[in-house]
């Protein structure tokens, strides 16, 4: 039972990350390998506020989301103004820099050993100490995130993003700012990632840099690619499928020393295979 709780909670958190990555990569068309870094920033911010007893869960989460919004805007705004490929460099740079900070800024992030003992989330004064209520919180977060995504995509903003994906020049000719739309999409993606980070920190009560590195960003991309770009269904399917993968792999006898490499290898193969043969993923639209 515990395993299923854990799976559902983590999958819900990763759905939020999937929505975030989908907004950035699937919808705004911005190649990003720094999603895990933003996820990490959200997690560390919430951990900081809760562990030092400064704020309760919801305000901490709000600040984490705000911080991640700011981070995404700060990063995409200058890079997008110049050229798409510049953002690739920026994204790799951000991810590597974040991992360096998470690993070496021991005072703030606990360094490579991470932060153990993060207090559980609390809602309106009541601490959620048992697993089932935490799971419900995560699932609730996922549902809320899905609702926000749905609202945004059916609004004129969603149509604007779809038009931008088709023809940026034509959109610019109608007098609308392509840059502002892309940066807004990135900001929203930041909000999702920051929230996911906060839920992650309180659910696991321990975080360390290995959950927020380049390999994790690759996993997030794989989720969106496999699940499908630009749709709510794809953002849900990808995480649930890919988080089941490690469990499936334990059925095959793989020595633990190479288990991590095998997982990453499979993600790489999935990325290539889907881009070659099914760019729309299982339940999405063509990337």
């Amino acid at each position: 039972m515990d395993f299923w709780f854990s799976y559902v909670a983590l999958a819900s958190i990763y759905v939020l990350l999937g929505l975030s990555t989908n907004l950035l990569v699937g919808i705004a068309g911005i190649f990003s390998v720094s999603q895990a870094a933003v996820f990490g920033v959200g997690a560390y911010i919430v951990a900081f506020f809760l562990m030092n007893d400064i704020l309760s869960f919801l305000p901490a989460l709000a600040i984490a989301a705000a911080g991640c919004i700011a981070l995404n805007v700060l990063v995409t705004l200058p890079a997008l103004r110049v050229s798409g490929d510049y953002f690739v460099v920026t994204s790799f740079g951000i991810q590597l820099l974040a991992t360096a900070i998470f690993t070496n800024w021991t005072a703030g992030t606990g360094g490579a050993n991470g932060l153990p003992g993060i207090p559980p989330a609390d809602l309106f004064g009541k601490a959620l100490e048992d697993t089932s209520s935490m799971v419900m919180l995560c699932v609730g977060g996922m549902i809320l995130g899905g609702l926000v995504f749905w609202l945004v995509m059916r609004a004129p903003f969603g149509r604007l993003l779809r038009a931008i994906r088709e023809d940026e020049l034509a959109v610019a000719a109608t007098g609308k700012s392509v840059l502002r739309a892309k940066v807004s999409a990135a900001a929203l993606a930041g909000a999702f990632a920051g929230t996911a980070g906060g839920l992650y920190a309180t659910f696991l009560s321990f975080i360390d840099p290995s959950s927020f590195d380049l390999d994790s960003s690759i996993l997030l991309l794989t989720m969106v690619v496999v699940g499908g770009a630009r749709t709510l269904a794809g953002s849900v399917l990808g995480p649930f499928l890919l988080l089941a993968l490690p469990q499936i792999l334990t059925l095959i006898d793989i020595p633990t020393t190479i288990a991590a490499a095998m997982r990453q290898l499979i993600y790489g193969v999935l990325l290539i295979a889907f881009m070659l043969f099914r760019p729309q993923g299982l339940a999405g639209e063509r990337l």
């Binding site: 190649f31 110049v82 798409g84 490929d85 460099v89 740079g93 070496n104 991309l221 290539i272 990337l287």
Partner: protein, 288 residues
Amino acid sequence: MLALQLACNGIVTGCALGVVAISFSFIYATTKLFHVAHAGVYTLGGYLAWAMLRQGLPTPIAFLVSIACCTVLGALIQWQLYARLERRRATHLVVLIASLGALAVIQNIIAAVFTANILLFDLPWGSRVIHLGGDVRLTMTQLLTVAASLLAYAALMLFSHGTILGKQIRAVASNPFLAEITRLRPRRTHIYVMAIASALVCLPGILTPLDLGLQPYNGITPLLTATIAMIAGGVGSITGAFVLAVVITELQNLSLLVIPGEWSIGVTFFIFVIFMLFRPTGLFAAAR
């Protein structure tokens, strides 16, 4: 004097990085593809050389076979992956993701076969130390790195400006549409470009780990620095990429005097941000 030693080390590493930069630039200028998997080819070169040296093969053979394998791998990625995607009119984003997938596959196959631990080379002649003036000491490997890198730079420049194929490649780079309707065959050109660039990048892929050791995931940081050098030097300028690679590495090394080593990525990134804000076309941008 520490600063002088750091400066010399910087030139050594910078030259090696210069080859990464010029090979990446060669690909990017011609195919317009951000070939992230280049970091994987770089890493593979080192591991293949290590494996062969371990088996007792003579050094020159190990080098040559590694270069050959990298060449084949690069050409294969272009032929079977990028060309296919191009035929389907895939967007830039799709190709980037596929390239990232290829990188993940290469790195993790290496990690599965050789483990993720750092592997060291065992070349006695390589670690012989030469004393230069002013307390500066360089190993044979380091000297070899500088020599080989400068040779590689010269070779690429000669090829690009002096040979027919090189000129054809530059023509394709400057006007792919026109190249398509004349007889320049851009698709075949792209395979040559990837093959040559992959052969080139194998050199620093072997030489740098001779000093610092091998690790499966160590390819992305040099690639990142190399691309920043390419952008800062001006896309399309081979000299610009090489020079800036040396300059950036120098700055990184000298910064070690004041900042701990774990933060060097920050220095590189800071340089990139400066260029992006103030001179995004680079210093030696090719005249359009």
